[in-house]
Symmetry: C2
Subunit: 409 residues, 2 copies
């Protein structure tokens, strides 16, 4: 039995029974819905003790807080349960008191998006769909392709024309049908929407499908449990479309609601300077104004974020703030996170670390705070950016004296 009680529009507040709609019929496709649960019932079942008795560290241990039936067929891939570890040397370098890294690059397709795609694939099977689709150049697509493969679903992915080939390698190997649309991301997105309507494919686009963000919130549920039912003072999450930080907040909110933790962290929403419309909306209090995105951090290079309101509300409710970082700060964070913690973060993931560093410098995050950065994706997904950020190899002849000249200098 699922504990879902219904869906609520984040714009107009209208409520709908589950499974009837994907977006609010009154508000149209921008009327994003939020899944609601019978928290009183969940609270009776999802106790610390009950959780301690569940051996699987992955995201399904939170099934009462997920919009899936108890007998739902689950993918064989191990999703979630990612490592949480202290990074003392990195904290010192960044001027932070305590820094924890939640490494979601360790998911099956190497990004946090697997948490969402897993829920999407389970829902598609539940709805007896054979095809699941999305428009994405990056992590959402490859994670969807992987989950679909694991569940025996067909994945159809719409990518913009200029999607770099290495980004496609993963989804092509997962057997997805990849349609490269002559045009940009927005055209790919629109085409995907219309195709899903026409052929009845299950739509994995996060900003439209209310269930996916429920998968994302498990990252916070895990953080609470991994810290012995404590939460950090500040949690940094990079912001593109806004879904991930919204999901992160929902998880922390639920932990407190269920009495599993006593408090919630402040969220630090981090955008790239060249793609910061959500920060602008957060600061101005006005509706979002689209921008032309310009940043190396492609996973958060979103000019028209569709979930900006959920993101802004989440940061505000948490008592946190939004901050922007430059591409050079992102590159520096990639180098520091790699060299001082042994974690290879993709640019969008390093942006969270860079945001904490800047917030510390600006006094937004106090020196004594316990901070956490969510590493949303693995740097292996974008080795070109890594090579731009990294130092160069040193050329030497096969000669020990040449090595001496390098190592003894």
């Amino acid at each position: 039995m699922s504990f879902v009680t219904g869906l609520k529009c984040v714009f107009c507040g209208a409520r709908y029974p589950a499974r009837t709609v994907m977006t609010c019929p009154k508000c149209g496709v921008t009327g994003i819905l939020d899944v609601e649960y019978d928290y009183a019932a969940v609270k009776r079942r999802l106790t610390r003790r009950a959780l301690a008795a569940r051996p699987d560290p992955g995201q399904w241990r939170w099934r009462e807080l997920l919009p899936i039936g108890e007998r739902a067929r689950l993918p064989a891939l191990a999703v979630g349960g990612s490592p949480l570890r202290p990074a003392a040397a990195l904290a010192r370098r960044l001027g932070l008191g305590t820094l924890l890294l939640k490494d979601d690059g360790r998911n099956p397709s190497a990004s946090l998006k697997d948490r969402a795609s897993a829920v999407g694939a389970v829902k598609a099977v539940e709805a007896h769909r054979r095809v699941i689709a999305c428009a994405s150049t990056g992590n959402a697509a490859s994670s969807l392709a992987g989950m679909a493969a694991a569940m025996g679903l067909k994945a159809i992915i719409f990518v913009p024309e200029r999607a770099p080939e290495p980004k496609l390698a993963q989804l092509l190997i997962f057997g997805a049908t990849v349609l490269r649309v002559r045009g940009g991301y927005d055209q790919a997105w629109e085409l995907c929407q219309r195709a899903c309507e026409r052929w009845g494919w299950y739509n994995r686009n996060c900003a439209v499908n209310p269930y996916l963000v429920e998968g994302k919130k498990t990252v916070s549920l895990e953080i609470g449990e991994q810290l012995g039912w404590e939460v950090p003072d500040w949690v940094a999450v990079s912001v593109g479309d806004g879904c991930t930080i919204a999901g992160t907040w929902k998880g922390f909110r639920e932990l407190r609601l269920l009495g599993l933790t006593r408090r919630t962290p402040k969220l630090l929403g981090v955008q790239a300077e060249g793609a910061a419309p959500v920060t602008a909306a957060f600061r101005s209090g006005e509706p979002l104004r689209p921008v032309e995105p310009r940043t190396m951090a492609d996973s958060i290079a979103v000019g028209v974020p569709r979930n900006w309101k959920k993101a802004v509300d989440a940061v505000r409710e948490s008592g946190g703030t939004m901050i922007n970082v430059s591409d050079e700060e992102i590159r520096e964070a990639m180098r520091a996170t790699g060299a001082l913690a042994g974690v290879f973060a993709e640019p969008a993931a390093a942006a969270g670390v860079a945001g904490l560093a800047r917030a510390a410098r600006e006094g937004v995050v106090p020196r004594r705070a316990v901070t956490l950065a969510v590493i949303t994706g693995n740097g292996l997904k974008d080795t070109r950016s890594a090579l731009e950020a990294a130092p160069r190899p040193i050329e030497v002849p096969p000669d020990l004296d040449a090595v001496a000249a390098v190592v003894e200098r």
Copy 2:
């Protein structure tokens, strides 16, 4: 307290106390040593019940079987504890009865080598070394660089001239000093050896350092525990230098020795047709004859494997066999493993799957056997090979009819 009793030369059988030598002084650098333990003492400590009470699923749960002190400082990265999952659809495609995948691409730097590098880094700290070095183009190097970063050690990596840049991205981000040696792998290797001697750096080269393979064996220890103290009938491991399959065998042997499992699996050692000197030595019973390696599977493209004898002995002792697969079979296995299991395997990892498929076709592995392939590395480490193996994207204009023409055909 460590349970290590000493080191034994795999060639001449001479025994040495631990910590005194790295290779057999009588046999020279080819005199590879094997770490021996007080198994009676280990058996008293390392019981099924004791293991069940250890919450950390990673490789340190086997510390009695590792050559590290009980108070050794461990890296903060979560090593091992990788998922083991059934792959029914893939098994059907390959003509196998039951197929399990042990996905070691989920390790911190995305390969099984992390198990070895973690032990290496711990030993280096134990020996009060500040620098750890190796010669490698690939997984050993990046995993060493990551572990060194996590432990605060300096890593110096010798790579051959033609090492592809994307392969270097990971180690450069981890802050390693990368010396690109004008010459091939063998020259890089020799230079590393001499540099370690001259400056007293800790040597991570697997074929020389007897401790690293001890980390690798934890993959088998985990398999035994994950299967409820059963083992598969056949375990496929791709073979390059020979260290990994030797380590795999040692783990299975120890499981049985300690009474944790009743039997051991047969090993299927898989080489690429274009780099198969170990298979040749296995079949001929003669010493290894070097070859010029030619295969897309760069992690096993080894012409002069330094651990061939351990590998041949391991396969023979297990009652298994060696098999070769073509690059086209490897590509097909990459596609099938991706599309039917949602696992992105690097070519060397897919070689194991391809080997099982061929062994099934040739009747070497019976239809009813429970088989397991060790996925030794993540395909993200070599997206160029993946793109060569994968189908192409389909170009479409931003038009629903064009999509219809594709999906309805």
